[in-house]
């Protein structure tokens, strides 16, 4: 199926349930819905799933220890974390619980508080009062397994942590998942079970009659429906307003993260590591981030938290880079600055109340907002899904489990993770398995081809990258870029000059050689006078 054919598919005229937004939350809800009905339609304006916050976050499955008591965020985070193993089962997505080491340092308390203490009090404050406080805080929130660590135990666990560390608390519940691979897996699982996904499809409005939602109006036509799930991330407020089901505002908050070379940093930190700050000391609304290993083994530092005007502002500023370096220079004094291979930013979608908004609209029947999902949204996803299903039931939908639900989504084969025997067997079956396209991440031609022809097909360089890791290594695509572009062109049946990095307006090439000379010639601008 070619790229063009896919875009020519007609939008269905009716769907039982429409999910707006193909981020991790929208896709997780869609997958859950397909347990009951195959008639689920997912819409997204981008050309791939996971194009917003789901592709650019720290991939952490928090425990809830960083959230304020009494918030929906904390409740769903604690529950979501517990549900995670079950949530990812059968998806073919790697999930590991690396834990979080909370490091207590002299900076963990404000100086004005410490001034009033004598030395012994101070020691007790850092090594007993604070750690116990953290553990008790966790207990109240329902977070179990927290362990107080002495200074020595901190270093034993994480030898690269600052020698200024005074004590620590280890939270074994913290996990890591690749957020865009999870999103892709969830939505592919949904599609396997009958859901339809329409990308490049922008919601422009809703038809609401008699206080009930009747249809979704898109740039590609209208879809009749009686139930809409608004999971539009940073745009959720605008989507809700289109239906008259709003009342909250999303203000974009940017988070930038630095990513390091796996070869240099795979052992640098074993768990997530964060410095403790007493409540009220933090300058920003973010949990403050930390250092953590991705599921692939790259060290990650960040994220920052910067309020921005533009919901598309995924830039990273010099100040943010400086801030990350400054912050982690203290916590991990010798972290390998030279091994940075990438830096990225994502946009959080907080409301002014800083809490999740998960509710059926009281203005428009059949319109469910799942909004304000900033961190720990990824960690809360299973519990958010559960809550949304409860809301749908309360609205009167009869949810009967299908008997023909397919419980598993087959994961794409990763050449780099196979044994040599398996590699050999595959190459003998199809030589494309023996052609390594990306040398840094050992990705073969066959994996790229598979990504382009997968259920949610990769249609550009970034799409292939997210699915296969081409260009994610230390050379950042310098060696493999033209090869991946050529495979995309071949498989999509388009000229290579139409291959893009991330959809329309992002061509890799501007033309063929001599094209410009010819154009200049036509304009009478000859570089070399041939007379």
């Amino acid at each position: 199926m070619s790229f063009k054919a896919r875009n020519c598919q007609l939008l269905p005229t009716r769907a039982e349930i429409v999910v707006v937004g193909a981020g991790v939350i929208g896709c997780a809800i869609a997958r859950e819905l397909t347990r009951y009905t195959p008639d689920v339609l997912v819409l997204d304006k981008e050309n791939d799933v996971a194009c917003g916050a789901s592709k650019a976050n720290n991939a952490e499955i928090h425990s809830g220890i960083g959230e304020d008591p009494g918030t929906l965020k904390q409740k769903l985070n604690v529950r979501g974390n517990r549900m995670y193993d079950e949530f990812v089962r059968g998806l073919g997505v790697e999930f590991k619980r690396q834990g979080l080491l909370i490091v207590i340092t002299p900076r963990s308390a404000p100086p004005e508080l410490l001034e009033r203490m004598n030395e012994e009090d101070r020691r007790r404050f850092f090594t007993e009062v604070i750690p116990r406080g953290i553990v008790n805080f966790g207990k109240k929130a329902g977070i179990t397994g927290l362990r107080i660590l002495s200074r020595e135990e901190v270093f034993e666990r994480e030898p690269n942590v600052t020698r200024e560390a005074l004590a620590g608390v280890f939270d074994p519940n913290y996990g890591m998942v690749c957020p865009y691979k999870l999103t892709i897996a969830l939505v592919e699982h949904a599609v396997l079970n009958g859901a339809k996904v329409f990308l490049n499809t922008e919601v422009n409005g809703f038809r609401v009659e008699g206080g009930r939602v009747r249809a979704v109006i898109t740039n590609r036509g209208e879809v009749e429906t009686s139930l809409v799930i608004n999971a539009a991330g940073v745009f959720a407020d605008e989507v809700a307003d289109m239906a008259g089901a709003g009342g909250f505002r999303i203000h974009p908050r940017k988070g930038a993260t630095l990513l390091f070379d796996r070869d240099v940093t795979s052992e640098y930190v074993r768990s997530s590591v964060a410095e403790f700050r007493l409540p009220g000391m933090k300058k920003t609304k973010s949990k403050g981030g930390g250092a953590m290993p991705t599921v692939e083994g790259n060290l990650q530092l960040g994220p920052t938290a910067v309020e921005v005007e533009d919901k598309y502002d995924t830039s990273i500023s010099a100040e943010e880079i400086e801030e990350i370096f400054e912050r982690f220079h203290y916590l991990l004094p010798d972290f390998p600055r030279d091994a940075v291979i990438s830096a990225f930013s994502g946009i959080r979608a907080p409301t002014y109340e800083e809490d999740f908004v998960i509710e059926a609209s009281d203005k428009v029947f059949g319109f469910v907002n799942v909004a304000g999902i900033q961190s720990p949204g990824l960690a809360s996803a299973p519990a958010i899904v559960e809550m949304v299903m409860g809301i749908i039931k309360d609205l009167g939908w009869e949810l009967e489990e299908r008997k023909d639900f397919i419980p598993e989504r087959p994961a794409p084969i990763k050449f780099s993770e196979l044994s040599n025997e398996e590699r050999h067997r595959l190459i003998m079956e199809d030589p494309r398995w023996g052609h390594v396209v990306c040398r840094c991440e050992t990705v073969t031609e066959m994996e790229v081809v598979n990504a382009i022809h997968s259920i949610i097909p990769a249609t550009d360089m970034d799409g292939v990258k997210r699915r296969t890791r081409t260009g994610m290594g230390r050379c950042q695509g310098s060696f493999c870029g033209h090869r991946v572009a050529a495979i995309l062109a071949r498989e999509l049946g388009i000229p290579v000059t139409e291959v893009t990095k991330s959809g329309e307006g992002s061509p890799i090439y501007v033309g063929r050689t001599k094209d410009l000379l010819l154009q200049n010639d036509l304009r009478g601008e000859r570089l070399v006078d041939e007379g």
């Binding site: 598309y312 995924t314 950042q476 893009t500 063929r512």
Partner: protein, 422 residues
């Protein structure tokens, strides 16, 4: 899986280094030599270097990159060296056993008598120099741009800003111009150019392309494709000076901000790398810290001239042959230390001590009217005048045969002001 292959030597990489090493090993009498190359053709980066300037020392001729490579490729094709193209080495261990893969043979297991590392280098990317901004299409390393234009026949941009005045950046400034693209300027963060003088003249000056020293790119604009970059003057600490920013519209940012020896395999084999070169610590046979694993060319340190790459390759190829033939003998261990105004020296150690040794080094800072000297335990064994030394240009010096023996404690290479002129 295929049975284990046991050639005399495996050379990893078939650029100028690998080609030269394989041929030298062959000439030194090794029978079965495998040359493994991950690309579809021999020559490494040379086929895309269609400009001239190669071979003035080796061949006493000025050749283009493809011409230079072809001289070796022709010899390899007649030599009986077995070439594996599109073949990627996945694993290399300290016992020299390795696993490679290609689409014809599947997984190949080899246990060669010797290994020569000749993987070359790669380009530093925008994130390694941490340029703030967006991540649009149109940010590209100079070598990749060269590949796109000269091999793929595709233009990566119309209006180009180049960051970094390394040789590839300068050459690409000219190449883009010759293809009808507009090069707005070359920006260099240092207060001196990064490339060879001849390239400054032939690639920038002759085409009226401005070079802005002490400038850098401080922001990349454009969400989908590059729309502009902000450039700014930098102070002596290479930090942008507020108020000097200027917005330059362009659709492409080409980076020529340094090369890094490609040593991922070397690390897997436990080869010790040198912090200043980023490549293996080698001796006068180009043997690394792991016995029987040799290295040559840009994998050892980034050379400015391909001729030097060829010279080190010949040493490594002959060394591998000596090793396999059981002729290689260590007589001692003598460190080669960088002295005044020397950043690093290759080789870093001497163990055979029985031959003339060619030393390659880079200076720390530009200096006029100097003397390049090699001292063996304080005794000058090599001394010559140089009108000018600059960090981008590799300097050669040599230790004559007979100057070394088991009792020597150290060799020092230094650059000192030439007293006679002072």
């Amino acid at each position: 899986m295929t049975k284990i292959l046991r050639p005399d030597a495996v050379v990893i990489g078939a650029g100028p280094a690998g080609l030269g090493a394989a041929l030298a090993a062959r000439e030194a009498g090794l029978e079965e030599i495998f040359l493994l190359e991950r690309d579809f053709e021999l020559g490494g980066i040379l086929p895309q270097c269609i400009h001239d300037g190669f071979g003035s020392i080796v061949f006493d001729q000025v050749l283009t990159g493809p011409e230079y490579a072809q001289r070796f490729i022709d010899k390899v094709e007649r030599s009986g060296i077995e070439v594996f193209l599109d073949t990627m080495v996945l694993e290399l261990r300290s016992d020299r056993s390795l696993v490679a893969v290609n689409s014809r043979d599947g997984v190949l297991r080899m246990e060669p008598g010797a290994v020569v590392l000749a993987m070359g280098c790669r380009e530093r990317t925008r994130h390694q120099v941490l340029i703030p901004g967006y991540r649009p299409a149109g940010v590209i390393c100079a070598g990749a741009a060269q590949r796109y234009i000269n091999i793929e026949g595709l233009m990566p941009g119309r209006r180009v800003v180049i960051l970094g005045s390394g040789d590839i950046g300068l050459i690409m400034a000219r190449r883009f111009t010759l293809e009808g693209a507009e090069v707005e300027g070359v920006y260099e963060i240092m207060d001196h150019p990064g490339g060879l003088t001849r390239n400054l003249v032939q690639c920038l000056h002759d085409f009226d392309i401005p070079l802005h020293l002490s400038h850098t790119v401080t922001f990349i604009h454009g969400r989908k494709r590059v729309e502009a970059v902000t450039v700014a003057k930098v102070n002596e600490n290479r930090k942008p000076i507020p108020g000097t920013e200027r917005l330059v519209e362009c659709d492409t940012l080409v980076l020529s901000v340094g090369l890094i020896p490609e040593n991922e395999l070397s690390k897997k084999a436990g080869v010790v790398l040198h912090p200043a070169t980023g490549g293996p610590v080698v001796d006068e046979l180009m043997e690394t810290s792991v016995e029987g694993i040799f290295a040559c060319g840009n994998v050892v340190c980034v050379f400015d001239l391909v001729d030097y790459v060829t010279f080190t390759a010949e040493v490594a190829g002959r060394g591998a042959a000596e090793f396999v033939q059981g002729r290689r003998r260590w007589r001692g261990e003598v460190p080669v230390r960088p002295g005044r105004n020397v950043r690093f020296v290759v080789p870093q150690r001497l163990r055979c001590l029985d031959r003339e040794v060619e030393l390659y080094f880079r200076v720390q800072r530009p200096e006029r009217s100097v003397r390049v000297r090699v001292l063996v335990d304080g005794r000058v064994v090599h001394s010559r005048k140089a009108r000018m030394v600059r960090p981008p240009e590799m300097v050669r010096a040599s230790i004559p045969a007979g100057a070394l023996n088991e009792g020597v404690r150290e060799v020092v290479v230094e650059v000192t002001p030439d007293e006679k002129e002072a």
